[in-house]
Protein backbone atom coordinates (compact mmCIF):
# COMPACT_ATOMS: atom_id res chain seq x y z
CA UNK A 1 0.00 0.00 0.00
CA UNK A 2 1.07 3.53 -0.64
CA UNK A 3 0.45 6.62 1.43
CA UNK A 4 -2.15 7.88 -1.08
CA UNK A 5 -5.65 6.37 -1.11
CA UNK A 6 -8.14 6.40 -3.93
CA UNK A 7 -11.76 7.43 -3.36
CA UNK A 8 -12.71 3.76 -3.53
CA UNK A 9 -10.16 2.95 -0.85
CA UNK A 10 -11.52 5.74 1.33
CA UNK A 11 -15.09 4.46 1.00
CA UNK A 12 -13.90 0.99 1.90
CA UNK A 13 -12.08 2.34 4.95
CA UNK A 14 -15.18 4.13 6.19
CA UNK A 15 -17.33 1.05 5.73
CA UNK A 16 -14.89 -1.35 7.28
CA UNK A 17 -15.51 -1.19 10.97
CA UNK A 18 -13.05 -4.03 11.45
CA UNK A 19 -10.24 -1.65 10.49
CA UNK A 20 -11.60 0.98 12.84
CA UNK A 21 -11.82 -1.50 15.73
CA UNK A 22 -8.40 -2.94 14.90
CA UNK A 23 -6.93 0.56 14.96
CA UNK A 24 -8.79 1.40 18.16
CA UNK A 25 -7.27 -1.57 19.96
CA UNK A 26 -3.88 -1.38 18.27
CA UNK A 27 -4.18 -4.73 16.60
CA UNK A 28 -3.61 -3.78 12.98
CA UNK A 29 -0.47 -4.95 11.34
CA UNK A 30 1.98 -2.12 10.56
CA UNK A 31 0.97 -1.64 6.90
CA UNK A 32 -2.76 -1.59 7.72
CA UNK A 33 -2.09 0.84 10.49
CA UNK A 34 -0.22 3.22 8.21
CA UNK A 35 -2.96 3.03 5.60
CA UNK A 36 -5.70 3.70 8.15
CA UNK A 37 -3.77 6.63 9.58
CA UNK A 38 -3.64 8.14 6.10
CA UNK A 39 -7.38 7.65 5.81
CA UNK A 40 -7.99 9.29 9.15
CA UNK A 41 -6.08 12.31 7.92
CA UNK A 42 -8.68 12.85 5.24
CA UNK A 43 -11.91 11.47 6.83
CA UNK A 44 -13.40 13.60 9.62
CA UNK A 45 -16.26 11.18 10.10
CA UNK A 46 -13.89 8.31 10.96
CA UNK A 47 -11.83 10.61 13.17
CA UNK A 48 -14.91 11.63 15.12
CA UNK A 49 -16.09 8.07 15.46
CA UNK A 50 -12.69 6.94 16.63
CA UNK A 51 -12.62 9.71 19.24
CA UNK A 52 -16.09 8.79 20.45
CA UNK A 53 -15.18 5.12 20.81
CA UNK A 54 -12.02 6.02 22.69
CA UNK A 55 -14.08 8.08 25.08
CA UNK A 56 -16.49 5.21 25.57
CA UNK A 57 -13.57 2.94 26.33
CA UNK A 58 -12.38 5.40 28.93
CA UNK A 59 -15.82 5.43 30.51
CA UNK A 60 -16.31 1.69 30.68
CA UNK A 61 -12.89 1.30 32.27
CA UNK A 62 -14.40 2.91 35.36
CA UNK A 63 -16.67 -0.02 36.08
CA UNK A 64 -14.83 -1.95 38.75
CA UNK A 65 -16.14 -5.08 40.42
CA UNK A 66 -16.30 -5.35 44.21
CA UNK A 67 -13.21 -6.70 45.91
CA UNK A 68 -14.36 -9.66 47.97
CA UNK A 69 -12.18 -11.73 50.23
CA UNK A 70 -11.95 -14.80 48.04
CA UNK A 71 -9.07 -16.90 49.34
CA UNK A 72 -10.02 -19.98 47.36
CA UNK A 73 -7.79 -22.98 47.63
CA UNK A 74 -8.08 -26.60 46.76
CA UNK A 75 -7.53 -29.00 49.64
CA UNK A 76 -6.96 -32.66 49.38
CA UNK A 77 -9.61 -34.63 51.17
CA UNK A 78 -8.20 -36.79 53.94
CA UNK A 79 -7.87 -40.37 52.74
CA UNK A 80 -10.47 -42.69 54.18
CA UNK A 81 -8.96 -45.19 56.59
CA UNK A 82 -8.73 -48.71 55.18
CA UNK A 83 -11.49 -51.02 56.38
CA UNK A 84 -10.52 -52.80 59.54
CA UNK A 85 -10.05 -56.53 59.10
CA UNK A 86 -12.84 -58.53 60.62
CA UNK A 87 -10.50 -60.62 62.69
CA UNK A 88 -6.80 -60.69 62.30
CA UNK A 89 -4.07 -61.97 64.51
CA UNK A 90 -0.75 -60.27 64.00
CA UNK A 91 2.37 -62.24 64.74
CA UNK A 92 3.79 -62.22 68.27
CA UNK A 93 1.77 -59.42 69.88
CA UNK A 94 -1.43 -60.80 68.40
CA UNK A 95 -0.80 -64.15 69.95
CA UNK A 96 0.00 -62.48 73.25
CA UNK A 97 -3.30 -60.63 73.11
CA UNK A 98 -5.10 -63.85 72.37
CA UNK A 99 -3.38 -65.49 75.29
CA UNK A 100 -4.54 -62.70 77.59
CA UNK A 101 -8.05 -63.15 76.26
CA UNK A 102 -8.00 -66.85 76.97
CA UNK A 103 -6.62 -66.21 80.44
CA UNK A 104 -9.37 -63.72 81.19
CA UNK A 105 -11.91 -66.22 79.95
CA UNK A 106 -10.48 -68.94 82.12
CA UNK A 107 -10.48 -66.67 85.15
CA UNK A 108 -14.07 -65.78 84.60
CA UNK A 109 -15.10 -69.39 84.24
CA UNK A 110 -13.08 -70.40 87.26
CA UNK A 111 -14.86 -67.80 89.36
CA UNK A 112 -18.31 -69.12 88.61
CA UNK A 113 -19.88 -70.43 91.74
CA UNK A 114 -23.21 -72.26 91.80
CA UNK A 115 -24.27 -73.50 95.21
CA UNK A 116 -27.55 -74.79 96.59
CA UNK A 117 -27.77 -75.76 100.24
CA UNK A 118 -29.58 -74.77 103.34
CA UNK A 119 -29.00 -71.10 102.45
CA UNK A 120 -30.81 -71.54 99.15
CA UNK A 121 -29.42 -71.14 95.60
CA UNK A 122 -26.30 -68.94 95.23
CA UNK A 123 -24.86 -67.91 91.83
CA UNK A 124 -21.66 -65.88 91.71
CA UNK A 125 -19.09 -65.11 89.00
CA UNK A 126 -15.92 -63.02 88.80
CA UNK A 127 -17.71 -60.40 86.69
CA UNK A 128 -20.63 -60.16 89.07
CA UNK A 129 -18.19 -59.61 91.87
CA UNK A 130 -16.73 -56.66 90.02
CA UNK A 131 -20.14 -55.24 89.34
CA UNK A 132 -21.80 -52.48 91.33
CA UNK A 133 -22.21 -53.87 94.82
CA UNK A 134 -25.37 -51.83 95.31
CA UNK A 135 -27.08 -53.59 92.43
CA UNK A 136 -28.40 -56.31 94.74
CA UNK A 137 -28.92 -56.29 98.46
CA UNK A 138 -26.20 -58.21 100.32
CA UNK A 139 -27.27 -61.13 102.49
CA UNK A 140 -25.73 -63.64 104.87
CA UNK A 141 -22.51 -61.73 105.54
CA UNK A 142 -21.39 -61.93 101.89
CA UNK A 143 -21.32 -58.29 100.89
CA UNK A 144 -20.23 -58.78 97.23
CA UNK A 145 -22.18 -61.91 96.46
CA UNK A 146 -25.60 -62.09 94.85
CA UNK A 147 -27.27 -65.01 96.61
CA UNK A 148 -30.82 -66.01 95.78
CA UNK A 149 -31.88 -67.10 99.23
CA UNK A 150 -35.39 -68.36 98.70
CA UNK A 151 -35.71 -70.30 101.95
CA UNK A 152 -34.77 -67.28 104.07
CA UNK A 153 -37.30 -65.22 102.15
CA UNK A 154 -40.01 -67.83 102.71
CA UNK A 155 -39.23 -67.95 106.43
CA UNK A 156 -39.32 -64.18 106.62
CA UNK A 157 -42.67 -64.10 104.88
CA UNK A 158 -43.97 -66.85 107.15
CA UNK A 159 -42.98 -64.84 110.22
CA UNK A 160 -44.61 -61.75 108.79
CA UNK A 161 -47.87 -63.64 108.20
CA UNK A 162 -47.86 -64.98 111.75
CA UNK A 163 -47.39 -61.46 113.11
CA UNK A 164 -50.32 -60.29 111.05
CA UNK A 165 -52.40 -63.22 112.26
CA UNK A 166 -51.69 -62.37 115.88
CA UNK A 167 -52.50 -58.74 115.34
CA UNK A 168 -55.81 -59.63 113.73
CA UNK A 169 -56.78 -62.01 116.54
CA UNK A 170 -56.15 -59.21 119.08
CA UNK A 171 -58.53 -56.99 117.16
CA UNK A 172 -61.13 -59.69 116.61
CA UNK A 173 -64.64 -58.38 116.67
CA UNK A 174 -63.73 -54.99 115.42
CA UNK A 175 -62.36 -56.09 112.03
CA UNK A 176 -63.63 -58.95 109.93
CA UNK A 177 -60.67 -60.92 108.56
CA UNK A 178 -60.51 -61.21 104.79
CA UNK A 179 -59.88 -64.96 105.04
CA UNK A 180 -63.09 -65.38 107.01
CA UNK A 181 -64.93 -63.35 104.44
CA UNK A 182 -63.71 -65.67 101.70
CA UNK A 183 -64.74 -68.79 103.61
CA UNK A 184 -61.15 -70.12 104.29
CA UNK A 185 -59.59 -70.76 107.69
CA UNK A 186 -56.29 -69.10 108.64
CA UNK A 187 -54.45 -72.37 108.48
CA UNK A 188 -55.73 -72.96 104.97
CA UNK A 189 -54.62 -69.52 103.86
CA UNK A 190 -51.14 -70.05 105.26
CA UNK A 191 -50.90 -73.42 103.62
CA UNK A 192 -51.93 -71.91 100.31
CA UNK A 193 -49.34 -69.15 100.59
CA UNK A 194 -46.60 -71.65 101.40
CA UNK A 195 -47.53 -73.71 98.34
CA UNK A 196 -47.36 -70.66 96.12
CA UNK A 197 -44.00 -69.69 97.52
CA UNK A 198 -42.70 -73.18 96.97
CA UNK A 199 -43.85 -73.19 93.35
CA UNK A 200 -42.30 -69.81 92.71
CA UNK A 201 -39.03 -70.96 94.26
CA UNK A 202 -38.95 -74.00 91.98
CA UNK A 203 -39.55 -71.87 88.88
CA UNK A 204 -36.80 -69.46 89.85
CA UNK A 205 -34.34 -72.29 90.42
CA UNK A 206 -35.05 -73.71 86.98
CA UNK A 207 -34.62 -70.33 85.32
CA UNK A 208 -31.30 -69.69 87.02
CA UNK A 209 -30.03 -73.15 86.14
CA UNK A 210 -30.98 -72.60 82.50
CA UNK A 211 -29.18 -69.24 82.47
CA UNK A 212 -26.04 -70.77 83.96
CA UNK A 213 -26.07 -73.47 81.30
CA UNK A 214 -26.48 -70.82 78.59
CA UNK A 215 -23.53 -68.79 79.90
CA UNK A 216 -21.40 -71.89 80.02
CA UNK A 217 -22.28 -72.69 76.41
CA UNK A 218 -21.45 -69.15 75.31
CA UNK A 219 -18.10 -69.30 77.05
CA UNK A 220 -17.33 -72.56 75.39
CA UNK A 221 -18.26 -71.29 71.93
CA UNK A 222 -16.18 -68.13 72.36
CA UNK A 223 -13.24 -70.19 73.55
CA UNK A 224 -13.43 -72.34 70.44
CA UNK A 225 -13.48 -69.24 68.20
CA UNK A 226 -10.51 -67.75 69.99
CA UNK A 227 -8.52 -70.96 69.79
CA UNK A 228 -9.27 -71.28 66.09
CA UNK A 229 -8.08 -67.71 65.53
CA UNK A 230 -4.92 -68.40 67.48
CA UNK A 231 -4.28 -71.47 65.39
CA UNK A 232 -4.69 -69.38 62.25
CA UNK A 233 -2.22 -66.84 63.54
CA UNK A 234 0.22 -69.56 64.36
CA UNK A 235 -0.06 -71.02 60.91
CA UNK A 236 0.91 -67.62 59.46
CA UNK A 237 3.91 -67.48 61.67
CA UNK A 238 5.25 -70.87 60.73
CA UNK A 239 7.59 -69.54 58.08
CA UNK A 240 8.82 -66.60 60.07
CA UNK A 241 9.48 -67.58 63.61
CA UNK A 242 9.23 -71.29 64.38
CA UNK A 243 10.72 -71.12 67.86
CA UNK A 244 8.53 -68.23 68.87
CA UNK A 245 5.45 -69.97 67.57
CA UNK A 246 6.31 -73.15 69.50
CA UNK A 247 6.71 -71.11 72.65
CA UNK A 248 3.33 -69.44 72.22
CA UNK A 249 1.67 -72.70 71.27
CA UNK A 250 2.94 -74.33 74.46
CA UNK A 251 1.71 -71.38 76.44
CA UNK A 252 -1.72 -71.53 74.88
CA UNK A 253 -1.97 -75.27 75.39
CA UNK A 254 -1.02 -74.93 79.04
CA UNK A 255 -3.67 -72.31 79.49
CA UNK A 256 -6.20 -74.45 77.68
CA UNK A 257 -5.44 -77.36 79.96
CA UNK A 258 -5.66 -75.13 82.98
CA UNK A 259 -8.98 -73.81 81.78
CA UNK A 260 -10.36 -77.31 81.22
CA UNK A 261 -9.13 -78.44 84.60
CA UNK A 262 -10.72 -75.51 86.38
CA UNK A 263 -13.98 -76.09 84.58
CA UNK A 264 -14.06 -79.67 85.80
Amino acid sequence: MTGRLTRQDDTHMCDSKELLVGFLYGELDPSEKRTFEVHLGTCAECRDELAALRMTRGQIALWTPPVPDLDFHVARRAAAPPPAPRFRIAPAWGLAAAAVLVMALATAIANVEVRYGHDGLVVRTGWQRAADPTASAPRGGEPNATPVDWKAQADHLDRRLRDLERAMSRNAGSVVPAAAASGLSDAQVLQRVREMLSQSETRQQRAVAARVAEITRDFDAQRRVDLAAIDQGMARLQNTSGAEVKQYRDLIQRMYRATSYQQK
Binding site: G22, T56, Q59, I60, V74, A75
Partner: protein
Amino acid sequence: MPSTDEELVARSRGGDLDSFNQLVLRWERPIYALAYRVIGREEDARDVAQETFLRAFRALKGFKGQAKFSSWLYRIALNLCRDWMRRERRTPVAQAPEGIDIIELAGETNPSESIEDLVSRHELGRAVAKAMSHLPEEQRTAIILKEYHGLTFREIADLLDCPLSTVKTRLYQGLTVLRRQLREAGVESTFGK
Protein backbone atom coordinates in the same frame (compact mmCIF):
# COMPACT_ATOMS: atom_id res chain seq x y z
CA MET B 1 11.42 -15.18 40.24
CA PRO B 2 7.82 -16.40 40.25
CA SER B 3 6.97 -19.49 38.29
CA THR B 4 5.08 -19.14 35.03
CA ASP B 5 1.61 -20.54 34.60
CA GLU B 6 3.01 -23.30 32.42
CA GLU B 7 5.50 -24.35 35.09
CA LEU B 8 2.85 -24.35 37.79
CA VAL B 9 0.48 -26.30 35.56
CA ALA B 10 3.15 -28.90 34.88
CA ARG B 11 3.84 -29.33 38.59
CA SER B 12 0.13 -29.42 39.36
CA ARG B 13 -0.36 -32.17 36.81
CA GLY B 14 2.31 -34.08 38.67
CA GLY B 15 0.23 -33.91 41.83
CA ASP B 16 1.66 -30.78 43.44
CA LEU B 17 -1.33 -29.20 45.13
CA ASP B 18 0.62 -26.15 46.27
CA SER B 19 1.41 -25.28 42.68
CA PHE B 20 -2.23 -25.46 41.75
CA ASN B 21 -3.13 -23.24 44.69
CA GLN B 22 -0.59 -20.72 43.45
CA LEU B 23 -2.46 -20.68 40.16
CA VAL B 24 -5.71 -20.21 42.07
CA LEU B 25 -4.25 -17.30 43.99
CA ARG B 26 -3.00 -15.76 40.78
CA TRP B 27 -6.24 -16.08 38.85
CA GLU B 28 -9.05 -15.97 41.41
CA ARG B 29 -9.62 -12.24 41.12
CA PRO B 30 -9.68 -12.06 37.31
CA ILE B 31 -12.02 -15.03 37.16
CA TYR B 32 -14.26 -13.56 39.82
CA ALA B 33 -14.27 -10.20 38.02
CA LEU B 34 -15.18 -11.91 34.75
CA ALA B 35 -18.05 -13.79 36.38
CA TYR B 36 -19.24 -10.69 38.20
CA ARG B 37 -19.30 -8.58 35.04
CA VAL B 38 -21.03 -11.27 33.03
CA ILE B 39 -23.75 -12.22 35.51
CA GLY B 40 -23.80 -9.15 37.73
CA ARG B 41 -24.29 -10.76 41.13
CA GLU B 42 -21.62 -10.90 43.75
CA GLU B 43 -22.54 -14.14 45.49
CA ASP B 44 -23.26 -15.99 42.29
CA ALA B 45 -20.03 -14.70 40.78
CA ARG B 46 -18.16 -16.05 43.77
CA ASP B 47 -19.82 -19.43 43.33
CA VAL B 48 -18.97 -19.46 39.64
CA ALA B 49 -15.35 -18.56 40.36
CA GLN B 50 -15.03 -21.28 42.97
CA GLU B 51 -16.62 -23.86 40.71
CA THR B 52 -14.29 -22.79 37.90
CA PHE B 53 -11.24 -23.75 39.92
CA LEU B 54 -12.76 -26.99 41.11
CA ARG B 55 -13.52 -28.01 37.55
CA ALA B 56 -10.10 -26.94 36.39
CA PHE B 57 -8.51 -29.01 39.13
CA ARG B 58 -10.52 -32.08 38.19
CA ALA B 59 -9.81 -31.65 34.49
CA LEU B 60 -6.17 -30.72 34.84
CA LYS B 61 -4.96 -34.10 33.59
CA GLY B 62 -6.78 -33.44 30.34
CA PHE B 63 -5.27 -29.98 29.87
CA LYS B 64 -2.45 -30.47 27.39
CA GLY B 65 -1.37 -26.86 27.12
CA GLN B 66 -2.97 -26.37 23.71
CA ALA B 67 -4.15 -22.96 24.96
CA LYS B 68 -2.96 -20.64 27.65
CA PHE B 69 -3.99 -21.74 31.12
CA SER B 70 -5.78 -18.43 31.62
CA SER B 71 -7.75 -18.87 28.40
CA TRP B 72 -8.72 -22.34 29.52
CA LEU B 73 -9.90 -20.94 32.86
CA TYR B 74 -11.85 -18.19 31.08
CA ARG B 75 -13.56 -20.78 28.93
CA ILE B 76 -14.62 -22.82 31.96
CA ALA B 77 -15.84 -19.70 33.74
CA LEU B 78 -17.80 -18.46 30.72
CA ASN B 79 -19.46 -21.84 30.30
CA LEU B 80 -20.48 -21.74 33.94
CA CYS B 81 -21.82 -18.21 33.52
CA ARG B 82 -23.90 -19.35 30.53
CA ASP B 83 -25.20 -22.28 32.55
CA TRP B 84 -26.11 -19.90 35.34
CA MET B 85 -27.97 -17.53 33.02
CA ARG B 86 -29.78 -20.42 31.35
CA ARG B 87 -30.72 -21.88 34.70
CA GLU B 88 -31.82 -18.60 36.17
CA ARG B 89 -33.42 -17.48 32.89
CA ARG B 90 -32.38 -13.94 33.58
CA THR B 91 -30.25 -11.24 32.15
CA PRO B 92 -27.37 -9.84 34.12
CA VAL B 93 -28.16 -7.46 36.88
CA ALA B 94 -26.42 -4.14 37.27
CA GLN B 95 -25.83 -4.50 40.98
CA ALA B 96 -24.88 -1.30 42.69
CA PRO B 97 -25.34 0.01 46.20
CA GLU B 98 -28.06 2.54 46.74
CA GLY B 99 -25.89 5.08 48.44
CA ILE B 100 -22.25 5.97 48.29
CA ASP B 101 -20.16 5.50 51.35
CA ILE B 102 -17.71 8.39 51.22
CA ILE B 103 -15.44 6.88 53.84
CA GLU B 104 -15.28 3.61 52.00
CA LEU B 105 -14.60 5.40 48.74
CA ALA B 106 -11.87 7.44 50.32
CA GLY B 107 -10.00 4.27 51.12
CA GLU B 108 -9.93 3.32 47.47
CA THR B 109 -8.71 6.55 46.05
CA ASN B 110 -5.24 7.83 45.38
CA PRO B 111 -4.16 10.92 47.27
CA SER B 112 -4.43 13.22 44.26
CA GLU B 113 -8.10 12.38 43.62
CA SER B 114 -10.66 14.74 45.07
CA ILE B 115 -13.76 13.39 46.77
CA GLU B 116 -15.92 14.94 44.03
CA ASP B 117 -13.96 13.08 41.38
CA LEU B 118 -14.29 9.93 43.43
CA VAL B 119 -18.06 10.18 43.64
CA SER B 120 -18.29 10.98 39.93
CA ARG B 121 -16.18 7.98 39.13
CA HIS B 122 -18.44 5.66 41.08
CA GLU B 123 -21.58 7.09 39.59
CA LEU B 124 -20.12 6.64 36.16
CA GLY B 125 -19.20 3.07 37.01
CA ARG B 126 -22.81 2.39 37.98
CA ALA B 127 -24.03 3.90 34.74
CA VAL B 128 -21.63 1.71 32.77
CA ALA B 129 -22.74 -1.39 34.66
CA LYS B 130 -26.34 -0.62 33.86
CA ALA B 131 -25.60 0.02 30.19
CA MET B 132 -23.57 -3.17 29.94
CA SER B 133 -26.41 -5.21 31.39
CA HIS B 134 -28.56 -4.20 28.43
CA LEU B 135 -26.11 -5.47 25.84
CA PRO B 136 -26.68 -8.81 24.13
CA GLU B 137 -24.64 -11.51 25.80
CA GLU B 138 -22.24 -11.98 22.85
CA GLN B 139 -21.36 -8.28 22.67
CA ARG B 140 -21.07 -7.95 26.42
CA THR B 141 -18.78 -10.95 26.68
CA ALA B 142 -16.54 -9.73 23.86
CA ILE B 143 -16.23 -6.28 25.45
CA ILE B 144 -15.53 -7.72 28.89
CA LEU B 145 -12.80 -10.00 27.59
CA LYS B 146 -11.23 -7.20 25.57
CA GLU B 147 -11.59 -4.23 27.87
CA TYR B 148 -11.11 -5.76 31.27
CA HIS B 149 -8.98 -8.79 30.56
CA GLY B 150 -6.92 -7.57 27.63
CA LEU B 151 -7.37 -10.61 25.44
CA THR B 152 -6.45 -10.30 21.78
CA PHE B 153 -9.00 -10.65 19.00
CA ARG B 154 -7.59 -14.08 18.24
CA GLU B 155 -7.83 -15.24 21.86
CA ILE B 156 -11.42 -14.04 22.12
CA ALA B 157 -12.29 -15.78 18.85
CA ASP B 158 -10.79 -19.03 20.09
CA LEU B 159 -12.54 -18.69 23.42
CA LEU B 160 -15.93 -17.96 21.93
CA ASP B 161 -15.49 -20.35 19.01
CA CYS B 162 -16.26 -17.70 16.40
CA PRO B 163 -14.39 -16.06 13.49
CA LEU B 164 -12.04 -13.15 14.05
CA SER B 165 -14.26 -10.81 12.05
CA THR B 166 -17.23 -11.68 14.28
CA VAL B 167 -15.27 -10.65 17.35
CA LYS B 168 -14.45 -7.27 15.81
CA THR B 169 -18.05 -6.74 14.74
CA ARG B 170 -19.34 -7.59 18.21
CA LEU B 171 -16.88 -5.19 19.75
CA TYR B 172 -17.80 -2.38 17.41
CA GLN B 173 -21.52 -2.89 17.82
CA GLY B 174 -21.25 -3.23 21.57
CA LEU B 175 -19.15 -0.10 21.95
CA THR B 176 -21.54 1.84 19.73
CA VAL B 177 -24.55 0.80 21.79
CA LEU B 178 -22.76 1.64 25.03
CA ARG B 179 -21.78 5.02 23.70
CA ARG B 180 -25.38 5.82 22.85
CA GLN B 181 -26.76 4.57 26.16
CA LEU B 182 -24.22 6.47 28.19
CA ARG B 183 -24.99 9.61 26.26
CA GLU B 184 -28.69 9.07 26.92
CA ALA B 185 -27.91 8.55 30.59
CA GLY B 186 -26.26 11.97 30.67
CA VAL B 187 -22.71 10.65 30.80
CA GLU B 188 -21.19 12.85 28.19
CA SER B 189 -17.55 12.92 28.87
CA THR B 190 -14.86 10.75 30.22
CA PHE B 191 -14.25 11.10 33.92
CA GLY B 192 -11.50 13.56 34.68
CA LYS B 193 -11.68 15.34 31.37
